[in-house]
Symmetry: C2
Subunit: 342 residues, 2 copies
């Protein structure tokens, strides 16, 4: 079947291609009647404009890309929903792309910028720092959501924006809450990667909290999961290893809610009661934390606010109303049933 093109439509309507183009793109300079006739023929024939050809020509294309590293991670679900809504409000199109674990998000962004005519990019997941230089290759503004800027990296701060919580500070707050409950032997479950990330900041907050409160760090209580911090399986296995190690602990802080839920299950299987025998805390404040049994103590990230602000800031930069900024939202300390005084 010969692909039907704009030329074919023009022929059938007895008009020029540009008229058809005008009809498709809701241009003003067109007779309502001819437009109507054209639209009818288009519907009849089932004609669909070729997007590749359009992107090639188009100069304006109000379009924002959202690149998500780990799009299947439920953590991003509420963020994506808000971002979609906000971008639509601005009458912009949205292209949502996932980035594979092995892909470089900036490479994908570069490619996409050429392919579509993007006006801005939002990154979720991945990390901000490593590629700050390369971010400049992008000719359009970039905002990271839920990933804070690196404090030490002043030079590159004007290459991109960030909207996030202060992971180190919130993490410290949570651990200090545990300490306030009387806990001293506090285990942490975190990820062992060396690349700078929110994960490292959360560990940093843990270490700071101990230090401030004069609690010595016990390396045996710092447990590393195998890569993924968003699988219950890893939370389960890591908690099990901790339990089996025989190392004493009265509290377990998992740097994600998902890990914490896995840990809860491991503790239950080992006959350890939460919170009677051990307190458990998570981080993120996902829906899961609210429905787990027992309800999780955690730090809730205000994802809706962060998402809304991300879009707002991006458009401010696009409209030259703002330079790149680094916005911090406070988290909420949710006191669940999974922790108690000792």
């Amino acid at each position: 079947m010969a692909e039907i093109t704009i030329v074919e439509i023009a022929k059938r309507c007895g008009v020029g291609v540009s008229t058809v183009s005008r009809a498709i793109n809701n241009h003003s300079d067109i007779n309502p009647e001819t437009k109507k006739r054209i639209m009818e023929v288009i519907k009849e024939t089932g004609y669909i404009p070729n997007n590749s050809a359009r992107n090639l020509k188009r100069t304006d294309a109000k379009c924002i890309a959202v690149l998500v590293k780990g799009i299947t991670n439920p953590f991003f679900a509420p963020m994506i929903a808000v971002v979609e809504e906000e971008i639509e409000k601005m009458k912009y199109a949205l292209v949502l792309r996932h980035v594979e674990a092995y892909e470089d998000e900036v490479d994908v962004a570069l490619e996409l910028e050429k392919e579509k005519r993007l006006r801005g990019i939002i990154f979720m997941g991945g990390n901000a720092r490593q590629s700050a230089d390369r971010l400049r290759q992008l000719n359009i503004p970039v905002v990271f959501a839920t990933i804070g800027s690196d404090i030490a990296d002043d030079l590159n701060k004007n290459a991109y924006s960030t909207v996030s919580v202060d992971d180190a500070k919130e993490s410290r707050r949570l651990v200090e809450y545990l300490i306030g409950l009387g806990h001293k032997k506090i285990a942490i479950m975190t990820e062992g990667s060396e690349t700078p990330s929110v994960v490292q900041l959360r560990l940093k907050g843990y270490l700071e909290a101990l230090k401030i409160n004069g609690i010595e760090v016990n390396d045996n209580l710092i447990r590393y999961v195998d890569k993924q911090i968003y699988t219950m399986h890893n939370g389960y296995e890591t908690a099990r290893a901790l339990i089996e190690s025989g190392e004493e602990f009265t509290a377990l802080y998992c740097i994600s809610d998902v890990l914490a839920v896995g840990a809860l299950r491991a503790l239950a299987d080992a006959g350890i009661r939460v919170p009677e025998d051990v307190s458990v805390a998570g981080f993120d404040g996902q829906e899961l934390a609210e429905y787990s049994i027992p309800r999780l103590t955690t730090i809730r990230q205000p994802l809706a606010d962060i998402s809304r602000e991300t879009v707002r800031l991006l458009f401010d930069i696009i409209d030259k109303k703002s330079y790149h900024r680094h916005i911090i939202f406070p988290g909420d300390l949710i006191k669940g049933e999974s922790t108690r005084e000792i």
Copy 2:
């Protein structure tokens, strides 16, 4: 900054554009040395080919599209992972697109088919039946994953393939298991949509199981969630309404694990013990079911097998080795801790 194109690269290398093209696309007819030189210049300049232009010209483009309705639904995560892997094995490119709730998945597919040069499409989520006719507009094979064909719709069966479990049958099996445990007052939590879907099939299985076992249907025990069957919140609220209604029940069957977890929480909040006072069962067999407290009784869908078979079947059809087929996988009845004999 002037966008750098293939012409620019050709100039800098002192070669023709076609030579550069050959270098990029790994063509055979090219001197290894000139190719190497070209690749170096490309790296230096940071040149990135424009995909829109490529798609416009390209004739082959080994590419498969995966359209997911509700990509943020964790249900699809393990499926997407497997599908990606399998498609990569076949040396095909994969374009993963999410379909908005309000979008028609076939429209999106049609558009994408023009834009890229697709060879096949995989649908996840959405429903197979409504658009069987329109599926024929697509000139490439379509396979639905986890969505069974409509038994009544023989005419359109050769317009697409499906790989799934038999939702009605598996649902019936689960309910019969509950009945076998001695339950007679079995509530079901389902969705109230009229469009044919897996959800309806699961309800159908419930009704069949009751009928076969001579249990009268109590309409007050059929509870409908408000739209989304993949939020714990809805499971919670619907269970709460059921509890507050005062209607007696000894078992609660939720047509998704996510709903069941919400229901568990609602029961706990009402001081109702699971499984001592009430048995709870889910459907899907997601990771969540395995880590919830108590562990859920559920039907596990073999998502990895379904995904692998989906890709295999799609390629068989592309390669003309098969016509459209409708493949059924058996589910696993997982006997968790959330149900007990009465």
